[in-house]
């Protein structure tokens, strides 16, 4: 696979390619597993950069990894079952084999996890579906580079049936006026106003409402 094809595939993953080239690449994606693997890796890289939501591995993930390790070790054991003249100490050989097995296990787990992660992504590994989603993918912004750590969750907020919430601008007015007023009354001066001017986190679950009370 030459570098030009790789670049075109990368451009398609970023939604920056002409439709003529897209058709050619899609055809190749259909028939070339190696090419498809590269396509998935590009998406994985993009998702990592964008810090998109983590997807849990399937429930049989560990089992599949274990089976893979056993089959690999089984094959290796069979290949070395006949002792050879001048070979090293069997105990040491066993130790090295165990270490090698551990390394294989780690490698298989990482590769499997990434494969699963890429596979369960929306639109993958179906190339057409992925292309359809590319138009909805926004460019990477500085917000995507924010560290993915979180503090402890703030106090529990009861969940209600979402029916109607006052407009965000209405809610914002309450927060702003509170920030300004509270800044002068307590001992904490600037703190409430700092909270008020910081950009609100737009979480879908943040605003809740119910009617009829």
């Amino acid at each position: 696979m030459n570098e030009s094809i790789r670049e075109q595939l990368s451009a398609m993953a970023d939604g920056e390619i002409q439709s003529e080239s897209t058709r050619f690449l899609l055809k190749r994606l259909d028939r070339d597993p190696e090419f498809r693997g590269l396509w998935e890796r590009y998406h994985l890289i993009r998702d990592c950069l964008r810090r998109q939501d983590h997807v849990l591995a399937p429930s049989d993930f560990c089992q599949r990894v274990s089976q893979q390790i056993e089959s690999d070790l089984g094959a290796e054991t069979a290949a070395h079952s006949r002792p050879q003249a001048g070979s090293v100490n069997p105990r040491r050989q066993l130790l090295w084999r165990s270490l090698a097995g551990g390394a294989i296990a780690a490698g298989v787990a990482v590769v499997s996890l990434f494969s699963v992660r890429a596979g369960v992504d929306a639109g993958l590994p179906q190339p057409n579906a992925a292309v359809a989603n590319l138009s909805q993918v926004a460019a990477i912004t500085s917000r995507d580079l924010i560290p993915p750590w979180k503090e402890q969750s703030v106090a529990r907020t009861d969940r209600f049936l979402l029916v109607q919430t006052p407009l965000a601008s209405e809610l914002d007015r309450y927060f702003m006026r509170h920030g300004e007023a509270a800044g002068g009354v307590g001992a904490l001066g600037m703190l409430p106003a700092v909270r008020a001017v910081s950009e609100p986190v737009r979480a879908a679950t943040a605003d809740t409402a119910q009617t009829g009370k």
């Binding site: 993915p148 007015r173 300004e180 909270r195 009370k213």
Partner: protein, 302 residues
């Protein structure tokens, strides 16, 4: 004077000096000093605000005195600014039209040590260094579930608040604000007014005696054009605003949201909407609304 009397007098003097020294170094005295510093010191700086898994930076300019001016401008995300100049407040936002409203009058109210002591247990946590300033760290442990705990970094020299962390009931960090850069000017004389106490007097007239312990009303303003009344309550550290608003035709119901650790809970009943906002537990904001509605609406009404 006999020898025994001298010894007794000397012991009494030592005890008196010792008590005075402890009192001057008590956390509550430092909190009062911190409040005074914010009324007297001009400063400019940038604070880092950590909340909801993100880090925001806010630039602050504050100048007390006769020509008091404050500006809070977000340096990350969408543009958001709060400007307070004299008796007027303006908010500027990238996603909304500019808004202006009158500043809350007579709201500087000196910290009441006794009131604070009822709501928090204050203790020293040690020393630290913030934005190049040597700070003492005070912890305020809440005495009930109506408020969060706080850790406050206070500049040893000026008494200015350098940082604050809000601590949840499981000792978890809810949010944190810390100066990353700070420039202080010389102190400006400023004195607290008695406006808070006067405003609190109005509360009885509205028939809404507050039932959340530890809080007293420290400010009140009425926006006649919108039919909106804002009442501000404080226990010295935590502050809650309760809005009472005429909203005709709005569907009855309740709603809640939060920003960082600031909770908002509101309820529409008939033509009346009551909203509570504050950096207090969510259940507490609900109690504020319940208490306010109970005072406003007679049993069985609306």
């Amino acid at each position: 004077m006999t020898g025994c009397r001298w010894i007794a007098w000397y012991a009494a003097m030592l005890a008196g000096i010792s008590t005075a020294a402890v009192a001057a170094d008590a956390p509550v005295v430092w909190l009062q000093r911190m409040q005074q510093a914010q009324w007297q010191r001009s400063y400019e700086g940038v604070v880092v605000y950590v909340h909801d898994g993100r880090v925001d930076q806010v630039r602050i300019s504050s100048r007390p005195g006769a020509d008091a001016f404050q500006r809070f401008a977000s340096m990350s995300g969408d543009r958001r600014e709060l400007l307070k100049s004299g008796t007027e407040v303006r908010s500027l936002q990238a996603t909304a039209a500019p808004a202006a409203w009158p500043a809350m009058a007579g709201q500087q109210r000196a910290l009441d040590a006794r009131q604070l002591g009822e709501s928090y247990h204050l203790q020293w946590l040690g020393t630290d260094r913030v934005a190049g300033f040597n700070a003492r760290l005070i912890e305020a442990v809440p005495q009930d579930h109506e408020r969060y705990g706080q850790r406050l970094w206070v500049d040893q020299e000026s008494g200015l608040l350098l940082g604050a962390a809000l601590i949840g009931p499981q000792q978890e960090l809810l949010e944190q604000v810390m100066f990353a850069q700070l420039a202080l000017d010389a102190p400006t004389p400023a004195a607290p007014s008695a406006g808070g106490a006067a405003a609190a007097g109005n509360e009885t007239a509205t028939g809404t005696a507050m039932r959340v312990p530890g809080f007293v009303m420290v400010g009140r303003r009425i926006d006649a054009a919108r039919g909106l009344e804002q009442r501000v309550y404080s226990d010295g550290l935590a502050t809650v605003s309760v809005y009472v608003e005429r909203r005709e035709g709005a569907p009855a119901g309740e709603f809640s949201t939060r920003r960082g650790a600031v909770q908002l809970y509101g309820r529409q009943r008939g033509d009346l909407r009551v909203v509570a906002v504050g950096a207090v537990p969510a259940d507490s904001t609900r109690r504020w609304v319940d208490a306010t509605l109970a005072g406003l609406v007679p049993a069985g009404g609306q």
